[in-house]
């Protein structure tokens, strides 16, 4: 293999792929959160938005219903790339780490980075669950699958206490994963140019993690408490 080929396959490039795909997924989460907040605007608004997203977005550039599939394929591609690089990097880390220490003190490691990989794996399971509930309608606790009326599915599901609780845990994991991921993505892409940018990136990471947690849990909590029906 030439040096160029080795460099292209290096851990640094794998990290860059993880950074880019991760940031795409953060962007998606922000958009998803925005959509969920429309619960507060009532069923008509919410359903209109959801159906527009699934059928009419980018029409007439694309035929009806095409955008959502192209977008799903793109997202799946991002997840697969993110996962593949994560696995290869984990493999390299296990090899790089060698024999464990008898005693080890950690100063810089945050909770979010220590659990980053495990939370990432758990997230795959939780996301699959989410898709089985609201996208395919395979599993429908508290609601009936209705393509035309996603509002009723949202409200029905979050009236069930354990769906709400599981969702809280799910979002907590997302936010911890994102806390390290956000800072790490920008650093990997070269944005950490000095102590002040280190601080800024970390603060932004906390901000986005908190924003997503609040943004996703606000409408769900409102439904659970019966403020929105």
């Amino acid at each position: 293999m030439s040096v160029q080929q080795k460099a292209v396959r290096s851990t640094v490039v794998k990290k860059a792929i993880m950074a880019l795909t991760g940031l795409v997924l953060v962007g998606f989460l922000l958009m998803h959160m925005f959509g969920n907040l429309k619960v507060f605007a009532g069923p008509a608004e919410y359903n209109h938005y959801a159906l527009w997203l699934k059928q009419d977005l980018l029409y007439p550039i694309l035929p009806h219903g095409w955008f959502i599939w192209l977008f799903r394929i793109f997202l799946i591609l991002c997840v697969v790339l993110h996962l593949y690089c994560a696995l290869r990097l984990t493999q390299a880390s296990l090899r790089g780490r060698g024999t464990p220490y008898v005693r080890r003190k950690r100063k810089e490691q945050t909770f979010s980075v220590r659990w980053l990989r495990w939370f990432g794996l758990l997230l795959i399971a939780l996301i699959s669950f989410h898709i089985l509930m609201f996208t395919t309608g395979t599993f429908t606790p508290g609601f009936e699958y209705q393509f035309e009326d996603p509002y009723s599915m949202y409200v029905g599901a979050f009236q069930v206490w354990w769906v709400f609780a599981a969702y809280g845990v799910f979002m907590l994991l997302v936010c911890f994963h994102l806390r390290h991921g956000f800072w790490s993505a920008f650093t990997t892409l070269g944005a950490n140019v000095g102590p002040s940018s280190r601080l800024t990136l970390n603060l932004l990471a906390y901000f986005f993690a908190a924003l997503l947690f609040v943004g996703f849990l606000l409408p769900a909590t409102a439904v659970f408490l019966g403020w929105v029906i």
Partner: protein, 251 residues
């Protein structure tokens, strides 16, 4: 002062190691950590035991030869109020009666040779791949013939401080040598003399880094926290930027 040492003993590369406990009674608080280990070895030798093998050379904190993990941190960094190498860590930072664990650097790319001595030639492989500038030999050029902007010269110097001790690898949960590699890259990339080989260097050094068995960087920051020469974490971002740019260059 009295201290209890728990030291990693391993007869050779392939032997199975374990922690052995030793007690020392008259340790002076003015001793350096290595002088304390010397004392232990004297004790062991007079009693007919095998002395503990450890690396050291200058004992002034400038050569990078010494380095062990003390109480769970590389060079005992978290026992000392200042950035330090093992040879410049003093016993006054430990409490009387302290129990001190001493372990070798642990990383896949740094196999233990004996006791606390590890083989760090993986670092040499990275340097050999490109951690230098090519220059014709002859008399030294006049220093002012290649002016360097002050702020870049400073940044280069902050990174040129790296003594290659390996604490960054020892502290990294991924066993990554990225801070070391980044220090060399940043040092040369900020000086005029480093420019001709800038792109080929970063590719070759990163390839060598991965090739010798170091893990990937996860931007954890443990490395910079223990670095005795305070090489900043930002250097890794510079390495990344240089690598991405170099991928589009044919050299």
């Amino acid at each position: 002062m009295k201290i209890t040492l728990k030291v990693w003993r391993q007869a050779n590369k392939d032997a199975k190691g374990s922690m052995k406990t030793y007690r020392l009674d008259d340790v002076s608080e003015d001793m350096s950590f290595l002088e304390m280990l010397d004392m232990l070895n004297e004790d062991l030798t007079t009693k007919g035991g095998e002395p503990v093998a450890f690396d050291s050379d200058c004992r002034e904190g400038i050569c990078g030869m010494c380095g062990v993990v003390i109480k769970g941190s590389a060079h005992g960094r978290y026992e000392s109020p200042i950035a330090t190498t093992t040879c410049q860590l003093h016993m006054r930072y430990f409490a009387d009666g302290a129990v001190i664990e001493v372990e070798p650097w642990r990383a896949g790319a740094f196999p233990v040779v004996k006791d606390l001595v590890v083989d760090r030639s993986a670092f040499d492989r990275i340097i050999q791949a490109g951690g230098f500038i090519s220059a014709n030999t002859g008399s030294a050029p006049e220093a002012h013939s290649t002016p360097a902007p002050k702020h870049l010269a400073d940044r280069a110097f902050d990174n040129a401080c790296c003594i290659g001790c390996g604490a960054c690898v020892a502290a990294c949960p991924n066993g990554s040598g990225m801070l070391f590699t980044a220090a060399k890259i940043t040092h040369l990339a900020n000086l005029p003399q480093g420019q001709p080989e800038r792109h080929s260097r970063v590719k070759a050094m990163v390839a060598a880094h991965d090739g010798v068995g170091f893990g990937g960087c996860q931007n954890v920051g443990e490395c910079a926290a223990v670095c005795p020469k305070k090489v900043p974490l930002e250097s890794i971002a510079q390495l990344n930027r240089d690598l991405f740019a170099s991928l589009f260059k044919s050299v």
